[in-house]
Amino acid sequence: MYEQLSSLLIQILSRTVHIFANKLVPLVGVGGSVETLEKVPWESVLFGLVVLAALGVVFGVALAIVAARFIVKTDPKVDQVRETLPGANCGACGFAGCMGYAENVVGNPDVAVNLCAPGKAAVAEKIADITGKKAEKVDPKIARVFCQGGKSLSQRKFIYTGVQDCTAAVLAAGGDKSCEYGCLGYATCMRACPFDAITMSADDLPIISKEKCTACGKCVAACPKQVIELSVESKAVVISCHSRDKGIDVKKKCQVGCIACGICVRTCPVEAIKLDNNLARIDHSKCIVCGLCVKKCPTKAIYDYIPVRLKAQIDPARCAGIDVCAKVCPVNAISGGPNAVHVVDQSKCIGCGMCAARCPKKAIDMIAAVQQVTGKPGADKSTVSAGA
């Protein structure tokens, strides 16, 4: 070892001396072995340096001239917007990456500031500050499970003992659930969720946490039954069923399925519900989230995501006895004739808020219910385990 090292050192030294002896003539060659070394004349080194330097100067000057001649002025706002954006380049805004959105939101007055889905309201506000546009409220979305038929409420076609995963279960004759539209309950969505927002209920249905869900859509893509959808969070009344079977078949398979009876369609005060192919669907642009259909649905297939609804209460001092509230109330909870102070029957009121919206004197407040009698519709909802 030592001998080898020393011999190597001696070799290096002798070669250095050799080079110096040759008046510092550089040696170039391939592989470094002595045979391939060739002498490079002094002029080459000099020319090399001069040529490289000259090329460098020429290119440098040329680039400087080009840069000065073809300068493009960019709006500093674009860079500011770009910095506030999350930089995920997810394309949810509909533009090519964050830079594309930044340019369009600054340059085009018609592009809204709230298109960035991951950034949510905070980013929309900042962009509004920078661009001077009006910040419209972002309607946050949330993933919702369109099935309430957990294992206790629905039938099974056969006993599935394969891999405990929905994508695997679906390969076995479309899954073991009798209803071919429903949630299989093998938690593929839970494993797909990058934010741990999904947990499985005791009844094998996914429960999506309102706080943790970012509406990224990973669970929507993972679900082989397409039973999860992204919907607007504020539109909290949802027909939690995807079954397009005939009503009689639905009843055989599941206790909480939509049987397309049409009661909700007739009940809805704003005609937001339509029957389509044996399934009721809510048009969320029309829905006022009154919750009336939830009360009327015979199979409880419609789910109200508002945990506790407020109750209407009329302030006697402000009530002018106009009677609009009594006419508009869908459950006839308001009594009192014209020119008399009206009273809300708290046990009948379902908290839809329609009277408060219509009262010209703003005499109706929506407040938390004082004391509820147990056994009322509000209480028995908890027995229906839905994908809350």
């Binding site: 490079v40 490289l52 090329l55 290119f59 040329a62 680039l63 080009v66 073809f70 493009v72």
Partner: protein, 194 residues
């Protein structure tokens, strides 16, 4: 002489296709072939940069490097020339055709250090090609690369609809495809011997 030029052109486009026979330039090849639109744009840019770069490098090699015996510096100088030219093209494009710049600007930066762009002047220098022969090689290589991009883009666009196993989705299946096309291109080998 023209026969030789034509031979070089065809050989570089098909027989010695840079992607399928020499396995060079795979970074851009896999980067832009997701969409037909970008790969066509890239083909034009690439061929243009290749032609102009080869011409510039030929002039510098022939009239500066050979007289001064600076052949050993060719890699450094060729990269420098291409980088300067691409940078200038980048700046000019940004001003003159912003639309094209936003489509291809990212790829122009990739072109600077692309191995095919460097390989063409190096081969030209190695083989001591004349200007016409160099141009033929550059054009042939550019068109060969464009051909590779367009074949790959058209397949990958179809592939979007195919039911690919999850572990093969994306790049892995593209590599498999490239291997298969390369096998097909092996059929050209030996047609022309240079």
């Amino acid at each position: 002489m023209w026969e030789h030029v034509l031979t070089i052109f065809i050989a570089s486009a098909l027989i010695n296709n840079f992607v399928f026979s020499r396995y060079l330039g795979l970074c851009i090849f896999f980067g832009v072939t997701k969409k037909m639109e970008t790969s066509i744009g890239m083909s034009f840019t690439f061929t243009a940069v290749m032609l102009i770069g080869a011409a510039l490098n030929w002039v510098i090699y022939e009239y500066v490097m050979i007289p001064f015996h600076l052949g050993f510096l060719k890699i450094v100088i060729f990269i420098g020339v291409v980088a300067a030219f691409v940078q200038a093209a980048d700046t000019i494009m940004k001003k003159v055709t912003p639309a094209l710049y936003y489509k291809l600007g990212i790829y122009l930066a990739l072109i600077v250090t692309n191995c095919i762009i460097l390989a063409v002047p190096l081969i030209n220098a190695e083989e001591h090609y004349s200007l016409f022969e160099s141009m033929a090689l550059a054009l042939g290589s550019g068109l060969g690369f464009s051909l590779a991009l367009i074949i790959m883009a058209s397949i990958r666009e179809k592939l979007e609809l195919a039911d690919v196993p999850k572990s093969f989705q994306g790049l892995p299946i593209s590599f498999v495809l490239t291997g298969l096309i390369a096998l097909a291109f092996l059929g050209f080998s030996g047609m022309i011997t240079l």
